[in-house]
């Protein structure tokens, strides 16, 4: 597009892409919001770990970036006061349970969960911004000539994958030590006859296979992109 390849097809595809890019992160925002409320209600330990909240707080803050000091049970970083409570039920003073309300052996690894979750949310907010910017350019008829914006767009391709993976990590690590919440611990669910060596072997096998398939995918993908659509 920037090089003026396949003019009309590219314009149509870009237009559709930008419209979806503006809408889907906003839909994600609302489902994510509802899901976060559900996690606070049903898995309070996970919710507390996501925000690094140790003490049960009325008017809990929302961190933009931060670091959880698990040893001293403190979270440091840049935060907006009372925003978490506000987002929970639109009341600046609502109470959010902290990790210290629960036995220590049922805490997940807090910092990992916190960081993964904040990367996901950060990517989401960035996507909302970029999507709306694209929509603004489209609405004011400047999209097809906005060189800088079009240059940046291809570099955003990995971002949704990053958000998926970090979101997945925060959800799955956040529910530890339970494999079935409050019913079965992960340590009780392992197969006694499968050795750790076998697990390692299978992980390496999957890693190698997916790496090979990914290289093959990129190779064929670039070939198809180079050839372009049939005009």
């Amino acid at each position: 597009m920037r090089k003026g390849l396949h003019g009309e097809t590219a314009k149509t595809m870009l237009k559709i892409g930008v419209i979806f890019f503006a809408l889907t992160p906003l839909i994600q925002l609302s489902t994510g919001h509802l899901h976060a409320i559900q996690v606070i209600d049903t898995q309070p330990e996970k919710a507390a770990a996501l925000e690094g909240l140790f003490e049960t707080t009325k008017g809990a803050p929302l961190y933009i970036v931060g670091y959880v000091d698990e040893q001293n049970e403190k979270t440091r970083g840049l935060y907006v006061p009372r925003l978490l409570s506000f987002l929970y039920n639109f009341d600046l003073n609502s109470e959010i349970k902290g990790l210290k309300d629960f036995p220590r052996e049922t805490w997940p690894p807090v910092n990992l969960v916190f960081q993964a979750y904040h990367i996901m949310v950060g990517v989401g907010v960035f996507a909302i911004f970029m999507g709306l910017w694209g929509a603004f350019l489209l609405a004011t008829n400047r999209l097809y000539t906005a060189k800088k914006y079009l240059f940046v767009l291809p570099f955003l391709i990995p971002l949704p994958h990053l958000a998926h993976e970090t979101g997945w990590i925060s959800a799955e690590v956040g529910r530890q030590p339970w494999i079935i919440y409050k019913i079965m611990k992960t340590s009780d669910a392992i197969s006694p006859v499968v050795s750790s060596g076998q697990i390692l072997m299978s992980l390496i096998a999957f890693f190698v296979i997916y790496l090979l398939l990914f290289i093959m995918f990129v190779f064929l993908f670039l070939k198809i992109v180079k050839n372009g659509p049939e005009s």
């Binding site: 197969s191 006694p192 006859v193 072997m201 296979i209 398939l213 190779f219 064929l220 070939k223």
Partner: protein, 335 residues
């Protein structure tokens, strides 16, 4: 109590039917995968063979997923023992399935290395069939189990002669399925090659099926008082004889049905020998996992029965639909 036993027997039969659907349907596309380098002499012939299975192979593999899922839901003890106990073998099957699947796609897009992808397709299909056959052989023949229903052997335990012969019988039967399907879907010179392959495979199957039934009688003498076993042997003989007549009379109709009948015979004999076991213990019979001590609760079985009642007709319906769309001779185009 009697109520739950009825459901346990029902689910033994249903899982047997699901896996039967898998071995018959995925059987022929796996068979074509293995036969590819032997009957396809040039790129065009290989294209025809692959496009004959292209639209259907993944639908066929759904039967495997459904069978394993049903096994997990109905008989979690057996599922856990087999899938954890045979872990390295299952991993190998999975890798083979992955490489087989992608090789069909990559071959079409990456022509310079098509020879490599054909090797993966052939080797992957071969491994899948052989290992599934060996796995079935092991649960039927018996593996060492401990008192907690856990597998107490090693990877090499799985490769004893009797289970290995299950694998070889499975391979022969699957190749026969593949060759029968190939004859239906091809014409001209390629079809002549496929007919030659079918002829050779028919002889091989007469041998393997014969030895297999003999081995089953030797291992499980109680089969001799089971009418189902005699029906199974007759079915196999009938199916193989019908293929022989077809070859003599140069009549290609319903070849796949005839081949499937001979396969069904092998399957029925295995089910008759195995019932009511799921994983037989080779060290002490009271340690075996059966449909009675390995099943889930009554409510789960009842819910599953309702789901199966709704789901099975849909699956069978769309399977028939797909095969009707793609019936007739295959062309060498990428689907």
């Amino acid at each position: 109590m009697e109520n739950i036993q009825n459901f346990q027997i029902l689910w033994f039969i249903l899982i047997a039917v699901l896996f039967l659907g898998y071995v018959l349907l995925d059987g022929f596309d796996l068979g074509i995968g293995v036969l590819l380098p032997f009957v396809g002499k040039n790129k065009e012939e290989k294209d025809i063979l692959i496009s004959s299975i292209g639209p259907v192979w993944d639908g066929n593999e759904v039967w495997l997923v459904a069978g394993a899922g049903a096994l997990f839901a109905a008989f979690p003890q057996a599922y856990a023992t087999a899938f954890s106990g045979f872990y390295p073998a299952m991993l190998l099957v999975l890798c083979a399935l992955i490489f087989r699947a992608v090789s069909m796609e990559f071959r079409a897009h990456d022509e310079r290395r098509s020879w490599l992808w054909e090797k993966f397709l052939c080797g992957g299909s071969f491994l899948v069939v052989l290992l599934f056959g060996i796995a079935l052989g092991n649960v039927v023949y018996g593996v060492p189990l401990d008192y907690k229903m856990e597998f107490a052997g090693s990877f090499w335990t799985l490769l004893r002669p009797a289970p290995l012969f299950f694998g070889i019988t499975a391979l022969a039967a699957v190749l026969l399925q593949g060759a029968s399907y190939a004859v239906l879907k091809t014409q001209g010179e390629l079809q002549q090659t496929c007919l030659k392959a079918l002829n050779i495979l028919l002889r091989i199957n007469m041998g393997t099926a014969g030895v297999y039934f003999g081995m089953m009688i030797f291992l499980f003498p109680h089969l001799l008082s089971n009418p189902l076993f005699y029906a199974a042997v007759l079915l196999s003989i009938f199916g193989l004889a019908e293929i022989l007549f077809s070859l003599v009379n140069k009549n290609e109709t319903a070849l796949l049905v005839k081949s499937s009948l001979s396969f069904l015979g092998l399957w029925l004999a295995t089910a008759a020998a195995h019932f009511p076991h799921l994983v037989k213990a080779s060290n002490a019979s009271y340690l075996s996992i059966t449909i009675y001590n390995g099943s889930t609760g009554l409510l789960t079985l009842q819910v599953m029965s309702v789901i199966a009642l709704i789901g099975m007709p849909i699956v069978i319906g769309y399977t028939i639909f797909v095969y009707r769309i793609f019936k007739g001779k295959s062309k060498p185009q990428h689907y």
